[in-house]
């Protein structure tokens, strides 16, 4: 069939060419070719078009999965947490200062202080280093340096956390023990420091983006009156990019709160109500790992307590994420 049509096509094509040359119109030959073929396929095409109407439906269903995921998380956490608070009172959970689930003490505060301790140490490490890196890259470094250094810093964000955990336990802890001999093998300090290193790229990269977005003419104005680079950075660029910078801090904090493997490996599994960084502690996240791996029976109080801890963690990080989004939206600089 194909060859038949093709030969007709070719002959009409010759006609056309001759027609053009002789200045004669040849509408009839045109009505042949592609049209006829397209018309022959028309019914099939119509059917296909009708089928295509189903595609957006499928796509929409896929888009709904992300919402179902959120609802699933909320449902999972809330329903199991309700199960938990049926057996353990709110006041026990929030006011008791002991977390010993296997002997029946469900006071969450040691886990919260553990998380805060890790997060605090991480911030002390990451904010100065991350911000200084961002300022260096955005204000001092040449384009070439920035193009090389920024991706390398970002590699730090792509390293699996289990690798960081290994690094904290086998390298950072022995290193610090040279300075602080009393340091426990599992301790909050080295865990916190390494979590801080892990979030440096988050802070550096996002802050640098915010600072690079400050338009050149604002800087030029300051340089024109004789300001040094440092003065321009601190008095012009950082204030102008402040919302982006703070948003990056908040996002970094949220990462630190939710970090699991580093603290599980390096900070220990002993929930203690302490702010002493040399001690072994437990965070919300590492209890979740401890409480689910091993032989926790489905439906037991300990099983439910994992979800109560999970919802506490979720609320913390959700608040941080909203805060970061709110800051970057509310204070978005309009240049």
């Amino acid at each position: 069939m194909g060859t038949g049509i093709t030969s007709v096509l070719t002959s009409t094509f010759r006609l056309d060419e001759r027609g053009l040359h002789m200045g004669i119109q040849n509408i009839q030959s045109k009505e042949w070719t592609v049209h006829d073929q397209m018309n022959a396929k028309k019914q099939r095409q119509k059917k296909l078009r009708r089928l295509e109407k189903l595609i957006p439906v499928f796509l929409f269903l896929c888009a709904i999965i992300s919402i179902l995921t959120t609802l699933g998380i909320l449902y999972t956490l809330i329903s199991s947490a309700i199960g938990f608070f049926g057996e353990v009172s709110f006041s026990e959970f929030f006011l008791n200062t002991e977390w010993k689930p296997w002997s029946g003490s469900f006071g969450v505060s040691p886990l919260i202080t553990g998380t805060l301790l890790i997060t605090g140490i991480a911030i002390i490490v990451a904010i100065p280093l991350g911000l200084a890196t961002a300022i260096f890259l955005s204000e001092y470094a040449s384009d070439r340096t920035r193009r090389i250094v920024k991706p390398v810093i970002e590699i730090l964000a792509g390293i699996p956390t289990v690798v960081y955990g290994f690094f904290a336990l086998t390298f950072v802890t022995p290193l610090i023990q040279h300075v602080i001999p009393d340091l426990k093998i599992f301790n909050a300090l080295s865990g916190g420091i390494v979590v801080g290193i892990m979030i440096i790229p988050t802070i550096a990269s996002l802050s640098e983006d915010a600072m690079s977005a400050v338009p050149g003419n604002i800087r030029e104005g300051a340089y024109a009156v004789g300001a040094t680079r440092f003065e321009v950075a601190m008095k012009v660029v950082v204030p102008a990019a402040l919302s982006g910078i703070i948003a990056s801090f908040v996002l970094g904090i949220s990462r630190a709160i939710g970090e699991t493997m580093i603290v599980t490996i390096a900070a220990g599994q002993s929930p203690t109500l302490t702010l002493d960084p040399t001690q072994s502690i437990q965070t919300l996240t590492s209890f979740i790992v401890q409480g689910t791996s091993g032989d926790t029976a489905y439906g037991s109080t300990i099983y439910y307590s994992v979800y109560a801890v999970g919802i506490t963690l979720f609320v913390f990080t959700l608040a941080m994420n909203f805060l970061s989004q709110y800051i970057s939206r509310r204070f978005r600089e309009e240049y």
Partner: protein, 270 residues
Amino acid sequence: MSTIAKPIVKKQSEEKTIEKDSVFGVSNLNLWYGTDQALYDIHMDIYKNEITAIIGPSGCGKSTFLKTLNRMVEMVPIVKTSGTIKYNDENIFDPKYSVEDLRTRVGMVFQKPNPFPKSIYDNVAYGPRIHGIKNKKDLDTIVEKSLKDAALWDEVKDRLHENAYGLSGGQQQRLCIARCLAIEPDVILMDEPTSALDPISTMKVEELVQNLREKYSIVIVTHNMQQAARISDKTAFFLNGELVEFTETDQLFSNPADKRTEDYITGRFG
């Protein structure tokens, strides 16, 4: 070159005015972008196998009008229209009217050459393929014929499978015309097709447009009055969303009926 072609043009358009064989009948057309009205009460007939030029200062609604003819204007979601456009006696705004069918019959060439990031061959074969033609030999024939009709064949026949982005701007625009010809539309809408091109490429495209008149009805928006005078049979002058004057090209440029047309073509504004 265009001056040589001119006399033939005239003869044809005279014949056509007797036949009154219209492809588009526009009546009472109003168009809004949100609350801003862009077209006011347009009445206009566009005839078969003629080149109709639309001129006017920028922002006068000439491109909007052109894009209404194949309903491309609806790509902007806030657009509202009223009135009718009849294409072969069917109202294209009828809810039952298939916009895909309309655009298959009414092709379009854009201001900036916009070939797909595919090979030259795949660009031209795109239209036939989406309309269900899969046979390799048929496609080969169509591609060759379309590229020849677009006067591009000799320049690209040895590199049909190279990326279209390797062509010059003028070649890309002719490729876009070839792509449009491949589904053999009845009408070709051209939205300032030469505004992004150098003078030599412009000349080639103009020449091509002249030749295409033999088989197609062409509506061309141009910001260049000389171009309109050179190539078109009829010219419409738009101003602030209104159709001020629409008549034979010669008449419009030599003896405009409206004072505003005269002011525009003599260069008092625009």
